[in-house]
Symmetry: C2
Subunit: 202 residues, 2 copies
DNA sequence: GGAAGAAGTGAACCATCATTCAGAGTTTCC
DNA sequence: GGAAACTCTGAATGATGGTTCACTTCTTCC
């Protein structure tokens, strides 16, 4: 027994790993998955390319971790808003607002999570992510139907439409063009979402 | 002057090129852009890899051609339906139906056009393609507003939502799950689209 | 028939990265 | 201090896949 990791050393490694994940996330948000080479990520984190493999068995594993962290945060935030107590329509409205606002505030990341070209492993995660998003929206829509404040409909389809719609609006240069402010865009998006779910006009 | 392409020879080359584009389209629809290597495409067309370069200067150029052809057909068909004479709401309904039905009938191709990971050159084409789709839907929505059959709204956002929604529904295994038939799915999609645009319930 | 020129072939070439590894530098503990 | 065990480095390795090119095969036209 001549060497055993001391708690401080374990901590140092954990911190290094966190730092790597954080830097990788930034790189992905900035240049997308396809441009985020191991070298680029390692450079951003200030370590050698080879050192990445001390923390992750492969580039794909790192990419999946980056995706899961970021996507997990988003799902969590949206989940809290959508499952809060209160009127389903009101919650839906807030949920769209939060979803879209967060995406607009970190567009690069939103694009990476929702649509950017990525390796298959990330693509699989993305399907799961979208499914979770959909499930959250669908649950609220179904509640609205049960409460009689939304018309009869297939909640899954409406939910898919909502995620698709927001994604589409964010993906290409439509977000903040000529005159439209972020607030106006958010208001329009929310209005569209409520119509889409069949909520009566205010 | 010892050699000059005879009309028949020119025709033969054109046919070969068409055949190559057609085969490439099939390969892309089946396995996606990322798996459609030059070799795979050449094999499908029954020619050698090197021969591809007699018709296109690069793989990217061939990919762009494949995309443009397929996307162009879709835009054309949708355009015809949406700009036909008649009630805007009715046209919108038909447009969604046609868009979605065609996508469902050739899901691989729809996925390739709308969402599948692809090289940057194709990505740029895709943005353009989506923009054209949006413009078509947006025009009808604006007409509906002008006619007083749709409520005031940002037509671009509604249009983006419609394309995003259909894309989302098609992309992952939600299209034809357990019990849902294609017809039921189309009906639900259309209903959702009309609600989204704010058309009064039938 | 045969010379000139084009199309077609497919193995070799080359660029790009992810991944590995031998060696240098650190940390632990006697 | 020093041996053992670990982390870190970055150049070498290897795989993938687009592109090239010397060569063969086919067309044209005298």
């Amino acid at each position: 027994m001549a060497y055993r990791k001391t708690p401080a050393e374990i901590r140092r490694l954990e911190v290094a790993r966190e730092h790597l994940v954080a830097c990788a996330t930034s790189v992905v948000a900035e240049v997308g998955w396809s441009q985020a080479s191991v070298t680029a990520v390692a450079d951003a984190a200030g370590i050698a390319a080879g050192s990445v493999y001390q923390h992750f068995p492969s580039k794909a594993a790192l990419a999946v971790e980056v995706f899961r962290r970021a996507a997990g945060r988003e799902v969590e935030v949206l989940g809290e808003v959508l499952t809060a107590p209160g009127d389903p329509v009101e919650r839906l409205s807030r949920g769209i607002h939060v979803f879209a606002r967060r995406a607009l505030e970190n567009r690069g990341l939103a694009y990476a999570l929702l649509a950017a070209p990525a390796e298959p492993a990330v693509g699989a995660e993305r399907l799961d992510f979208r499914r979770r998003y959909r499930a959250l929206f669908a649950a609220v829509v179904r509640e609205g139907i049960a409460d009689g404040v939304l018309p009869e409909q297939n909640g899954e389809i409406t939910a898919a439409a909502l995620t698709g719609a927001i994604g589409e609006v964010l993906v290409d240069p439509l977000g903040t063009p000529d005159g439209t402010t972020t607030e106006a865009l958010l208001a329009e998006l929310t209005a569209m979402a409520l119509r889409c779910a069949g909520a009566p006009a205010p």
